[in-house]
């Protein structure tokens, strides 16, 4: 535990030495996308320099190496999330959003029928809402929302009622707006008790603490490479082998077929059924490097570090601004992570971000692709600061300084 050092992590991230507007960057936007360590960037460069080839269908050496690199990444991801069936359960997609579309349009379209309920929550990202709305259009399912309480947590007081008719509970592991971490394990039990499956939107989980799908006892998990120190262009849908085997293909094309005739086709077995076309090979290599890097840090260490940072930031925001900067999210670190949405008195989030940029501070304004949640709290937008393993208290220092300036300017 003592070996973790945010300072060392920071030294591994090339972009964190960048100077913007005369100030070294203060990166507080890991919730949107994390920054890549040198080892991830180099792994991809070396891949392209030495062993790029298309996978699966080659017998020459670099093609084998590329295939092994690609499949090796699948294996590493499976281990990282403790997938019970190993690499046979890891489907590579392009991002979390595609993962949810695959879930809805393959599993959902075949297992759900008119009147069946998909239960999501009001704090979901659009990636875990819109695909269900699309499925509703074609199949007539019901999409039901678990309400969010004034304490910024799921209101589970009516859970039994909410679960009636539910075939799938699809829930975020951590809200990308509030930082709230719903009790996924309890929800998994509740879902299974009524015979429903449970999917977890793990996009905000992977880089910030241990993610153990076996321990959580969920059935699906979706996440993105670019939010876990890895590259853009790759995501994952994990699901149990028994479930995966029942899912029909989604995208059609090369690689996902066993046979194609002029009169029809036979889909392939296993994960390849869902990977049509040339997959994100270099991206898988980069993701593997990211997984290795995170394993090196120790995800418990990262979780502890971010908890400390978050508690410190929450406390100082309160002390410094005395209510003029309101945190939209739980004010303690119980079941919450390092995503801090701010509502700054008299200053629109867009303007907050603009002023902060002058200090080199990177925060994200907007609805964060969670419009139902924003509506719930009567907000159009927040300015969101979010931590990563490379974040340090000095980032909070600069954030506070810049917020002070914004308040003064618009005051």
């Amino acid at each position: 535990m003592t070996s973790f050092s945010a300072r060392r992590v920071r030294a591994d991230i090339p972009q964190l030495t960048r100077v913007v507007n005369g100030r070294t960057i203060t990166y507080l936007d890991s919730g949107a996308s994390s920054l890549q360590p040198r080892s991830v960037i180099d792994a991809m460069s070396r891949y392209y320099e030495l062993r790029h080839a298309n996978v699966h269908r080659g017998v020459y050496q670099t093609a084998n190496e590329a295939t092994e690199a690609y499949e090796g990444s699948r294996n590493a991801v499976a281990r990282f999330i403790n997938a019970p069936g190993g690499e046979n359960e890891v489907v590579f997609t392009k991002n979390t959003t595609e993962s949810f579309n695959l879930l809805a349009k393959s599993w959902g379209a075949t297992n759900l029928k008119s009147g069946d309920v998909v239960l999501v929550s009001e704090m979901e990202h659009h990636a875990n809402i819109v695909p269900w709305f699309q499925l509703r259009e074609t199949t007539g399912i019901e999409v039901r929302f678990i309400p969010v309480g004034d304490d910024y947590r799921l209101d589970l007081s009516n859970l039994d009622e909410l679960l009636k008719g539910v075939k799938l509970l699809s829930i975020t592991g951590m809200s990308n707006v509030l930082g709230t971490r719903p009790p996924v394990k309890d929800l998994a039990r509740a879902a299974h008790d009524v015979g429903a499956l449970i999917a977890v939107d793990a996009a905000q989980m992977l880089a910030h603490g241990p993610t153990d799908v076996t321990e959580l006892d969920v059935d699906f998990a979706a996440f993105s490479g670019h939010k876990m120190l890895g590259p853009t262009g790759i995501g994952v849908l994990w699901t149990r082998e028994q479930v995966l085997d029942t899912m029909p293909p989604f995208l059609g094309g090369g690689g996902m077929i066993a046979d194609v005739r002029t009169d029809g086709y036979t889909p392939a077995k296993g994960v390849s059924r869902f990977e049509a076309g040339t997959p994100p090979i270099a991206e898988a290599v980069g993701l593997h490097a990211a997984v290795r890097y995170l394993e090196g840090l120790g995800m418990e260490n990262v979780a502890a570090h971010e908890r400390t940072l978050t508690q410190d930031a929450l406390t100082r925001l309160e002390l410094t601004f005395d209510g003029r900067v309101r945190v939209i999210g739980p004010l303690n670190t119980i079941e919450r992570g390092g995503v801090i949405s701010l509502d700054v008195e008299g200053v629109h989030p867009h303007d907050v971000a603009q002023v902060l940029d002058q200090f080199g501070v990177c925060v994200r304004p907007g609805h964060h692709c969670a419009k139902p949640l924003m509506r719930r709290f009567g907000l159009a937008a927040t300015a969101r600061a979010s931590f990563g393993p490379y974040s340090m208290t000095k980032d909070t220092d600069v954030l506070l300084e810049a917020l002070e300036h914004a308040l003064k300017m618009f005051g």
Partner: protein, 154 residues
């Protein structure tokens, strides 16, 4: 921080704090049109009362950043009471101002003259926005919504 002050001129902050022509009009007779900026969540609702080819009244609601809100406030003042042709000409001038790209500005400082700043009056305060390309959408939101509303009325 000269850049920031280019963007947030006093007149902009003033219109942001005290927006003009805020409110609704009864529909009908007025026409209601909504604009979204899906990227940042800004919303503007424009109420148009057009009579005999004249924009007799205009009201706005919505929410958004200082740029989108001050721009809609400034817009309302600039177009209210004008003929539709005049309104369209003002929209064109403003949108032209907003498409003068930063790099062009940097190259020829007097490039601005292409847009008749005097004709724009107070609106010219928004010209600093072009140095922040990502904010251009904020500044033009109300204008695009107004144009859409006018087109719907034809």
């Amino acid at each position: 921080m000269s850049n920031l002050e280019d963007l947030y001129r006093e007149i902009i902050l003033d219109h942001y704090r005290s927006p003009r022509n805020r409110g609704e009009l009864a529909t009908p007779p007025a026409h209601r049109v909504e604009g979204f900026n899906p990227l940042c969540g800004d919303e503007v609702v424009v109420y148009l009362d057009v009579r005999d080819g004249v924009l007799a009244d205009i009201k706005l609601t919505g929410h958004g950043c200082s740029i989108s809100q001050s721009s809609s406030s400034l817009m309302s003042g600039a177009v209210k009471g004008k003929t539709i042709d005049e309104v369209n000409a003002t929209i064109d001038s403003f949108k032209k101002l907003m498409t003068v790209h930063e790099s062009a500005l940097a190259k020829e400082e007097d490039h601005d003259d292409e847009v008749d700043l005097r004709r724009l009056g107070e609106l010219a305060a928004l010209q600093g926005v072009v140095k922040f390309p990502v904010r251009i959408k904020c500044a033009t939101l109300a204008w695009n919504t107004l144009r859409q509303g006018l087109e719907e009325l034809v």
